[in-house]
Point group: D2
Chain length 153, copies 4
């Protein structure tokens, strides 16, 4: 691909949606990704959510976007920290995700998040996305957070 095409790829669709997107409300990113997420299980240190893959979260290959997957790892991985009594979930230090299989539109996925460690300062959680029907793993990640935000990171 030549450099001109890269430019087109990054600047595509720019005009079509510009006004709509620019006028979207503050902090709309989380609702945009999470809309449709429901809680299946919630216990200390463990949280399972489920979701039907919606058209808006597809990538150009027509399966769940890697950025949306990483965002679900962030959000569901933060929520599980609350379940062991932490007063807030801190700020992200590191997120990593391995992509293992594609999740297509209309497929129901479940997202399981587990506490690996919640200390005074550092929390680490694992998050796994699976196909609900078969249990096949779509993605697995870990999320590290710094909890003592009131003091200095």
């Amino acid at each position: 691909m030549d450099l001109e095409s890269v430019k087109k790829y990054l600047e595509r669709d720019r005009s079509r949606n510009a006004t709509t997107i620019d006028e979207m409300p503050s902090k709309f990113f989380e609702p945009f990704v999470m809309q449709g997420l429901s809680i299946d299980l919630l216990e200390p240190g463990r949280l399972i959510c489920s979701m039907i893959v919606p058209p808006r979260l597809l990538n150009t290959g027509n399966f769940l976007h890697g950025g949306a997957t990483a965002t679900l790892v962030d959000i569901v991985g933060s929520a599980v920290i609350y379940t062991v009594g932490a007063p807030f979930t801190g700020v992200s230090v590191e997120i990593n995700v391995s992509y293992l299989d594609a999740a297509y539109v209309g497929e129901e996925i479940e997202i399981e998040s587990k506490v690996l460690r919640v200390g005074k300062a550092i929390a680490v959680v694992s998050v796994e996305l699976r196909k609900k029907k078969t249990g096949k793993i779509i993605a697995q990640g870990r999320h590290t957070k710094y909890l003592a935000v009131s003091s200095k990171m």
Copy 2:
């Protein structure tokens, strides 16, 4: 935080935006994140984009959402693979991001992506987000892709 509050946290704002979000067009996730991104430098193996942090991409702490950051690592890190002549950018295998500083609304950030390796099958790129004014690093990540998608992964 008790379990009931975790439930509320995950299910907040549900009704307010539900219809709007459910009706959003297919593959809207990338335009939603990328709107406002412009290209500053484009050469073989290296790409710099910039962006003003928009209100829609803030987290509850009022700075750029970690999921949006991971998505920019995905998108800009994929585009740079094209610059060395790869016919397509493949599928994601792994993404990791370290979060180093907060980027607030209205701040101009630059996103630099570099090719570390583009082989026949595996591409690895690094992506760094910085404050344009001071050069201070906001986040650094790496993105691994599998290129030979026509054959079996």
Copy 3:
């Protein structure tokens, strides 16, 4: 710490062991780390090993060295790929490890490795180190390998 001290830190003990270490046999790194490892469970897609933390693998803080932990993630995470019939375990593409607790000398640890994906080209495994007595997690990591080494990576 001043720069001179950093120099001393990196160059410490240099003379004492130099000859002994330089004369060590080729490929001695794996035996050096693995000595004492035994297999507890071995089935398709899953492998559990155990080990008493030996004095040689301690760090300056007197617990299992992070580099040794990463090496165990590499080795045990490679071996589990064989269990699903792969003819070889390929080359490493990415390794990541979260460190969750300290493992002290004489403690028995178990290392569980699971296949997340073994495709034609890409394998991803998870590896978890736990204290055998309590089940407490010491470290969790993932290892990505490229399998089709005979062809071009």
Copy 4:
């Protein structure tokens, strides 16, 4: 590969070196890996070391072992934290490494470590291994440490 072969792979060479290895001194892992490392540049926030790939650190494919590479990311990435005045380098929270090219015995490599962030509690550094002759990148990683070890992690 059948399960019996996996067992043999993990238990190979066991008897040959057992006594020698078991009698090695405490904390021998770092000297074992670092022997031969020298400092090329040392300034606040940046450290470059070099090393000739020694026979003892090879893997079964006859190039620098991935576990040794991860250990160098750990060690050199810890030392650079000292260069900005931190009183100690803390404990590892996360290490990740992408493997980009092979380093063969006798090749001179350089290891560059840079501070991305050193705060009160969290330090993040990047580490890159390159072939000294060509500058070709062998591996790139990041290392996250928790600094305030005297207080509770």
